[in-house]
Subunit: 208 residues, 2 copies
Amino acid sequence: MKLQVAIDRVPLADAVALAKQLDGKVAIIEMGTSLVKDDGLAGFRAMRAAIHTSQLLIDLKTIDEGGYEFKQGFAAGADILTVMGAASLATLQTTAAATETAKKEMMIDLMEVDAAKQQAVSIFPDAIYALHHSTDRQDHLDPTATVADFHNAFPQLKRLAIAGGIDLAGATALAAQGLTEIAIVGSAITKAADPVSTAQQFMEAISA
Amino acid sequence: MKLQVAIDRVPLADAVALAKQLDGKVAIIEMGTSLVKDDGLAGFRAMRAAIHTSQLLIDLKTIDEGGYEFKQGFAAGADILTVMGAASLATLQTTAAATETAKKEMMIDLMEVDAAKQQAVSIFPDAIYALHHSTDRQDHLDPTATVADFHNAFPQLKRLAIAGGIDLAGATALAAQGLTEIAIVGSAITKAADPVSTAQQFMEAISA
């Protein structure tokens, strides 16, 4: 299982500094949506320049104008871009095509997507499907149960990710379960007193 | 009925130049999502500096982290910010509270929101509800029929907007219908040979 660390709601300089420290220590470094909307393409380029070994995911959360946003994101050097499952099927088809053209990767964010829409968007076998709990919701998800439910509903989808309040225990349980390709961790790492050693704890826990 | 002109998918300098030309000639000037993600807060500030008379709407399309995004958007000088109806109810409640605190306005973008979710998010009487057809969809909506259907379903919601392929005939029909507060027009104005005189044609048509 890969570890993705999401960097969000900090000044760009701090995000770049943390990305440099995490580079090569975790599989994927995420430039969060707050940085996208605060810093735009200049931010994309600064994050790209900071990262040499890990993959860079830019959390665009595209919900329309898929061709334009994915072209901009891949041109700026993203390895993985996100599109909302709540977008129109036409938008998802557009971002899937742009991803294939760029020979890069697409993550579909399933936040607030109900069962019927999940079914409609389950037609992209190469995409990463991210089970995602809104940050603004105060309730919590059970990571392994959420992954198991989705896997049982869509066994043909092989690339699963999960985000939303994942802590060390949750990441450890996900790794043991063996169904998740990417565990996405935000504040449990980035707000820790020592984010790098905390990330290393997560890496040890999920590879144990 | 007010006219909102959406500026999207152009370099920031071109957007600023067009905003200066349209300032005071149309009710609302929209900084589109592509400019948000390309230019970030620096773009917000450039658009704010360009506009003195019209209202500035920043099309944030917030779908999570509502408190953070709305705080940033209003601090940068937006008069109106957008949140997706597809967001969690918790996100919408957060953006509504941030809007009230800032004494500004919130537009809820109903793109790809089904009837059940429309019902769930119909609890914000001060918000502007934007009926919106994804740019990536190739089919077209009938503006007056779309507004009439929504008005019949939610007669208590008094502030309606509509976006998606609105041309001069569509805007004229919407004004005559009398149910729409804001008609949002993009490329029919911004891609015209003379955007300012085209905007003036729209203004004359909707005030006739």
